[in-house]
């Protein structure tokens, strides 16, 4: 069976920009699954999505949708002929058309009965029944979102592209609509690519998440792998809270030539046990809702730690963690252990 989407070695630069918007991107998405493209603004995720949609032409690489090459140095299939549906950040609903007319905009079927059936199926699927004759301006934010989804899915696309679809919603509505969209994608068994800068969107909706930075795909995997085994410091920080133990472990307060960083997920640190890895003083404690935010000092090195453990200010505590839980990153990427170990409390095994 062909993957729903295959991207090979895609690169794209814009005139006047020093760095490429996308560089050497390789990704595969299997049918019925959802791929998340995540990263900060300007990392190239929207450009990559637009290349898949056919709104941008890359300098190198190929894009295949359901095994058919739609973009390559020799081939370019126009957006309307790719069988790809797209949901835009601003939804791009046609304000002068009704819900029904929006849904049917791209439908090529001419038979009125068939068109009615498509409308019926889409409004039922997206819970817009009874609103067929309303214009988008008369719909709530969530209904507009679902209409955008219905319009994109009405043409039965092989692939659905979602460009930051929840970014204009407030927090409460965002969670609600995200759940609805997830249910719809599952119900329709549609393969989808979601561009977002919100990790919660990716966690809730995506089977695979590709983290992008400076035009490059740093790592693409399921979220558990990204969280537990990040290949890059940026991935580690993006996918969850980390305590930066670089200074206490290596003695380097700023990254040196080796550029080493030692990070650990806070929940991997324990405060009881045998063979402490670090001994630290609690300088300051701040309440942060579900946890406390601590400023700690080990030797001359300061670090911050977010944990649910209640520690007393001005007390000294022992920190215990497993060596395998430490993320060590050098200039060349993930390392098994740091080159330099400064603190005497760190056992030689580290």
């Amino acid at each position: 069976m062909n993957p729903a989407l295959e991207i090979s070695n895609i690169s794209k630069s814009y005139p006047g920009k020093d760095n490429p918007a996308v560089y050497g991107a390789n990704l595969t998405l299997y049918k019925g699954k959802t791929l998340g493209l995540i990263g900060e603004s300007g990392c190239g995720k929207t450009t990559l999505l637009r290349i898949i949609a056919g709104f941008e032409v890359p300098e190198t690489g190929t894009v295949k949708v359901d095994g058919r090459t739609v973009t390559s140095p020799e081939i370019f299939v126009p957006p309307a002929e790719r069988n790809v549906g797209m949901i835009f950040q601003d939804l791009a609903l046609f304000p002068h058309l009704t819900v029904r007319e929006n849904i049917l905009f791209g439908v090529k079927e001419k038979d009125p009965a068939a068109r009615d059936r498509i409308t019926e199926r889409m409004v039922t699927l997206t819970n817009l029944s009874g609103l067929e004759n309303r214009r988008p301006g008369a719909l709530s934010g969530g209904q507009q979102q679902r209409l955008a989804l219905a319009r994109a899915m009405a043409v039965s696309p092989q692939l659905l592209l979602l460009d930051e679809p929840f970014s204009n919603l407030d927090v409460a509505l965002r969670q609600q609509v995200r759940g609805q969209v997830g249910d719809l994608l599952k119900a329709a068994q549609t393969s989808a690519v979601l561009v977002t800068h919100d990790i919660d969107d990716a966690v809730a909706l995506c089977d695979t998440v590709a983290v992008m930075k400076d035009g490059k795909v740093l790592q693409a995997a399921c979220f558990e792998v990204l969280y537990d085994n990040p290949s890059d410091e940026y991935v580690a920080r993006l996918t969850g809270s980390v305590a930066d133990l670089t200074a206490p472990i290596t003695g380097n307060h700023t990254p040196d030539d080796r550029g080493e960083r030692c990070l650990i997920r806070p929940e991997r640190i324990r405060f009881r046990g045998a063979d402490p890895r670090l001994r630290a003083a609690v300088i300051e404690r701040n309440f942060a809702g579900d946890a406390f935010m601590y400023r700690m000092k080990s030797g001359e090195a300061e670090f911050r730690l977010r944990t649910a453990e209640l520690l007393q200010e001005e007390s000294e505590v022992n920190l215990f963690f497993d060596e395998k839980d430490l993320f060590v990153f050098g200039k060349e990427g993930r390392k098994s252990k740091p080159d330099a170990v400064a603190n005497a409390t760190i056992p030689p095994s580290v």
């Binding site: 957006p79 309307a80 549906g85 835009f88 791009a92 046609f94 304000p95 002068h96």
Partner: protein, 550 residues
């Protein structure tokens, strides 16, 4: 009763203003009444019994006026829609050779008054004109004779008006297309790749309110036109008003015709406002559409499509005027012609200064009072632009005649002319007609630029007058200058109103061009036309610059 009084006082009482602001409101209301009186008079006179001249017009001429006016409106409207919307779509959506300069060159026909273009085309298309002379030289006199057609008909007139008025549609349509969200076009193109369908089903319906607004202005210009329709021998309401006054000497009949025309304009106005209500909240928050490159022969086709209206609507008539002006300059120029130039500059300058000063006053009064009445005054004083010049002229004449009777009655004057046939009356009429040209853009600029500095000055204890002169006017100087130039151009171009109200033996560039053309001395009308057009190009380029900076 008490509740009623409260409501009335709430209307009059400034919400945010203070006692210091009330004299401004009082003066604004008085000035507003002075400017509205001629228009109210025209409406009021309709209810008086008709004169024999009116009976004659109603029975024999009214139908012809109506048919011709409607035909001109429909045909010119259709041409301006096709040319204006077509060029706006191509220029805003596609990148093709010459697009950069065509974007502003297509506005240039605005600098040409329609009557001057009509004279120019009458000259070009006459048998002795350059077109048939060229055909004669190339193919022989018989070929020229065979190809010749009499261009002095209503259809040629409609085409001529369409060629010169299409920028009224082009400008708002282009702005509307450019403001439409890029993602909406991308959504449409991902769902349906046909650009014709995207234009028909997405871009055009969304731009419709803006296009309707432009079309409304075109129809106003068509109904206002006197010079071109008179020269082409087409009887419309405007020529009817002139005939009733100058040939039949019957002001009552002229007023009734004006009232019918006002009714037509009123209906158009209501229809346009109704259309505005159906304006959709379009997605304009994110990326705007940019032009897409066009490949192959298509790009040259687009260049040709957009160049033709510029050539026919501006370059060709301008060239004809320039060539004729050079040929006849020495014959026409002289002390009398220089006096005509001085008259035009004085009238246009005087009216523009007065209009801009009054505009600033009305807007500032409305800002510091913030009452319904203050806002209402601003709307009322801007109404005149929606009315043909001939109607306003008739209204001013009625008011003038009433004023003269009153001053004679109390022994203040004896038969002297206060308003009608005086420069003062002419400027009064210009103020009514062109106040909107200044008030509307300045009001927007005041809102945009003066709110914070205004509040800062007031919070520092400065009075309204000090704030106006030391803060608002300096901040608004570029906008005020641009409003002055726009009004100056409009007054320079104005013909029907000037013809009716000008003092005896008093000529402007517009009336001089008209007089020469009327005496079948088209080439001699060119120097006056050239000066009007040259003066007009500056404000047109200003419009382009201000749109670009948005």
């Amino acid at each position: 009763m008490r509740a009623g009084n409260n409501t009335l006082s709430a209307l009059i009482r400034p919400r945010a203003g203070t006692a210091e602001a009330r004299p401004w409101l009082l003066i604004a209301v008085i000035l507003g009444i002075v400017l509205a009186v001629p228009l109210v008079t025209v409406v009021a006179k309709v209810f008086t019994p008709g004169t024999p001249a009116w009976q004659h017009i109603a029975q024999n001429l009214l139908w012809e006026y109506t048919v011709n006016s409607v035909f001109l409106c429909l045909t010119t409207g259709a041409i301006t829609l096709a040319v204006g919307v077509g060029c706006a779509w191509l220029v805003s959506r596609f990148r093709f050779p010459g697009r950069g300069w065509l974007e502003w060159a297509l506005i240039l026909p605005l600098a040409l008054p329609s009557y001057i273009v009509a004279y120019s085309y009458a000259g070009i298309l006459s048998f002795t004109g350059p077109l048939y002379t060229l055909i004669g030289q190339v193919g022989g006199r018989e070929a020229a004779k065979a190809l010749y057609f009499d261009s002095m008909n209503i259809f040629t007139l409609a085409v001529t008006l369409g060629l010169v008025l299409f920028p009224y549609v082009y400008l708002p349509a282009k702005a509307a297309f450019q403001l439409q969200s890029a993602s909406m076009f991308e959504a449409a193109s991902s769902l349906s790749g046909k650009s014709g369908m995207i234009f028909r089903r997405v871009a055009l319906p969304l731009a419709r309110p803006a296009i309707a607004g432009g079309l409304f202005l075109v129809l106003m210009e068509v109904l206002n036109d006197y010079g071109a329709v008179y020269y082409f021998g087409v009887s419309t309401f405007t020529t009817g008003i002139f005939k009733a006054w100058f040939s039949m000497g019957d002001l009552e009949a002229a007023i009734r015709l004006s009232a019918v025309l006002m009714l037509a304009v009123g209906l158009l106005f209501i229809a346009e406002k109704y259309k505005q209500r159906s304006r959709f909240a379009t997605n304009t928050g994110l990326k705007k559409t940019g032009p897409e490159p066009v490949k192959g022969r298509k790009k040259w086709l687009y260049t040709l499509i957009c160049t033709l209206p510029f050539l026919l609507g501006f370059a060709l008539p301008f060239l004809k005027i320039a060539v004729d002006a050079v040929a006849t300059w020495t014959k026409v120029s002289g002390p009398q012609f220089y006096m005509v130039i001085a008259n035009s500059v004085m009238l246009a300058g005087g009216a523009a200064v007065l209009i801009v000063v009054l505009s600033v006053f009305f807007i500032y009064s409305s800002r510091i009072n913030r009452s319904v009445i203050a806002k209402g005054v601003n709307r009322v004083v801007a109404l005149g632009y929606a009315l043909p010049g001939a109607v306003i002229a008739v209204g001013v004449m009625v008011v003038g005649a009433g004023l003269e009777r009153f001053t004679e009655g109390i022994g203040l004057t004896s038969g002297s002319i206060l308003v009608t046939g005086s420069v003062a009356g002419l400027i009064y009429a210009y103020v009514i007609r062109f106040m909107a040209v200044s008030v509307n853009p300045l009001e927007g600029n005041f809102k945009q630029q003066c709110a914070k500095p205004d509040e800062a000055a007031r919070s520092l204890g400065k009075g309204y007058l000090f704030t106006l002169f030391r803060v608002n006017i300096p901040v608004m100087r570029p906008a005020i200058l641009s409003a002055f130039l726009l009004v100056f151009l409009d007054v320079m171009k104005e013909l029907p109103l000037t013809l009716i109200l000008r003092p005896f033996n008093f000529d402007t560039l517009a009336t001089t061009a008209f007089a020469y053309a009327n005496d079948e001395m088209l080439r001699e009308s060119a120097p006056a036309s050239l000066l009007i057009v040259s003066a007009g190009i500056v404000p047109v380029l200003l419009i382009h610059k201000s749109i670009k900076s948005l």
